[in-house]
């Protein structure tokens, strides 16, 4: 198993995978609690549009996909704020628009490129030093915004109270959507565009099932993200599977375990309260 670590490409995939897992599962708790899972999907497809444009222009995909996806994230937040349309409606429109643009760009590319395949399904082979630098930058952004965790959580559970307390809630909406957009673009190489919204949501959703408090949920989510990426990438290497699918399958397994735990704990609690009620009467 550890022989995998002898390969440079595997080392790069692990470093980038771990860093993006921390980011995705950290922002994931806000995505899950704010009911924005679909945003991950929309931004993943914006990334597709950006990557396709980069391939057409023969540029480094990251440098085109980052501004493209961030722009879409800001537009989604802006249109939602200004129109009062339901978030899934707004996201759905930009989702389709980016996808359509991506398809147009791809259809114009003359030469076949494996890069497109890497981005769609995720690959441990394609991680470059640029990708790693970008992932380090993403982690750096988390560290400098760490003190906003409490403020974001406050606006997540009770927006009206946060507004009354003059928290810059709208500014934070934009900030969060941009940070999530960056995380998605940088994770795309490893996890793949088609699976990235799951990468954002499953660790947080699993953590939600077994946590009573938001701090616990955040910590557990990041731990699940990190562990599942390590196992997933190892499986990808061992069994020659696309890395994205491999990671998501491991995450789905963890989700199932958390679901079972929460059901057992729930059943026990209700049994306990039932027997308490019986002994009272």
């Amino acid at each position: 198993m550890f022989e995998a670590l002898q390969y440079g490409f595997m080392q790069r995939a692990l470093i980038a995978g771990l860093l993006t897992a921390v980011a995705a599962s950290y922002y994931g708790v806000f995505v899950v609690q704010r009911g924005m899972s679909f945003l991950g999907n929309g931004l993943a497809h914006a990334t597709f549009g950006g990557v396709a444009l980069a391939l057409l222009l023969n540029q480094e995909p990251l440098w085109v996909a980052v501004p493209f996806t961030v722009l879409v994230a800001v537009l989604i937040t802006y249109v939602r704020d200004r129109t009062g349309l339901a978030p899934d409606t707004v996201i759905g429109i930009f989702f389709a628009l980016s996808m359509a643009l991506g398809i147009v760009f791809i259809s114009r590319i003359q030469t076949y490129t494996t890069d497109a395949f890497h981005y769609l399904f995720g690959s441990i082979l394609g991680v470059t030093d640029t990708d790693i630098r970008a992932a380090v930058f993403i982690l750096f952004l988390i560290l400098i915004t760490l003190r906003l965790w409490g403020r974001w959580a406050y606006a997540t559970i009770d927006r009206e109270a946060a507004l009354a307390d003059r928290i810059p809630v709208k500014f934070d909406d934009y900030l969060l959507s941009v940070l999530i957009a960056l995380t998605i673009v940088v994770s795309a190489k490893i996890v793949g565009i088609v699976l990235i919204s799951a990468f954002l949501v499953i660790p947080a959703a699993s953590a939600r099932l077994v946590s009573r408090r938001f701090l616990g949920m955040t910590v557990v989510s990041v731990m699940i993200g990190v562990v599942t990426v390590i196992i997933g990438l190892m499986c990808s290497f061992q069994f020659d599977l696309p890395s994205g699918a491999s990671i998501i399958l491991v995450q789905a397994l963890i989700f199932t375990v958390c679901l079972l735990i929460s059901m057992v704990v729930g059943a026990r609690a209700s049994l306990k309260s039932k027997s308490a009620a019986r002994s009272k009467s």
Partner: protein
């Protein structure tokens, strides 16, 4: 007498609807003001305007003689009408109350947090709920916890939007006794929206009767006469005949 809240010629437009029209009133230190009016008459909007949550179309509001943004947010405690808390959020009661101290969600509660929270939860008769998940609170329990969150910051101004909604009659009396007791000890000014003018008569020293405009204002015995009530509600019935505005929120 200091004007705690000075409302001068305030109008508020919601969409294309003028919800408040040219309201002027001054509220002084230690006042317990009941805001009374029929459903949809702009009571909640008035509180939200004071908090800066809706823009003013015209007029101005001053708090302690200053613009709202010059006043620390901790000076104001607010219990909103629509229970806006996401009950699916993984949190226990003492987390929510602590958020009232720091204006931020707590990670780890300090010993000092615990002391303040226990004290205020005991005050509202909810100390046993401290470690209970929010999702498991009843409507009435949540209402008390909300009051605790507003009180924990020791506010100078308390804005309550139908705080008795969802509480049973005993709980309601209890809640008013908490408030009365708190007001005796603290220098807090209270604005409370209610549809129940019997309660207003008992606990408030001043009444604002509104129906988009200010219909009457003054001590309950003067403001709540038949003429004014008819102007506000269109008829004079018993308070409890009024449909309970907001009851469906619980």
């Amino acid at each position: 007498m200091v004007n705690v809240i000075e409302i001068a010629n305030v109008s508020v437009r919601l969409g294309d609807f003028l919800a408040l029209r040219d309201i002027s009133v001054n509220i002084q230190t230690g006042d317990f003001v009941a805001i009374i009016g029929p459903n949809g008459s702009g009571k909640s909007t008035l509180l939200r305007a004071i908090l800066g949550l809706v823009p003013l179309e015209s007029g101005r509001i001053k708090i302690f003689d200053k613009e709202l943004r010059m006043i620390p947010p901790e000076w104001i405690g607010y219990v909103p009408q629509l229970k806006t808390v996401d009950r699916n959020f993984p949190a226990v009661t003492c987390d929510l109350v602590t958020s009232g101290i720091h204006r931020s969600w707590p990670g780890i509660l300090t010993k000092k947090d615990h002391e303040s929270v226990s004290e205020v939860l005991a005050m509202v008769g909810a100390e046993h709920l401290c470690h209970k998940p929010l999702g498991q609170l009843s409507g009435g329990e949540l209402q008390r916890v909300y009051l605790a969150r507003a009180l924990v910051r020791k506010p100078k101004i308390l804005l309550l939007d139908e705080p008795a909604t969802g509480i049973d009659a005993v709980g309601e009396d209890y809640m008013y006794s908490i408030l009365d007791e708190h007001l005796e000890r603290a220098d807090t000014t209270v604005l409370m929206v209610t549809h129940d003018w019997l309660t207003a008569r008992h606990h408030a020293n001043r009444v604002l009767l509104i129906n988009h405009k200010l219909i009457a204002e003054g001590p309950p015995s003067e403001a709540l006469n038949d003429k004014h009530l008819r102007a506000a509600f269109g008829h004079v019935g018993h308070a409890h005949d009024q449909p309970c505005d907001g009851a469906s929120d619980v």
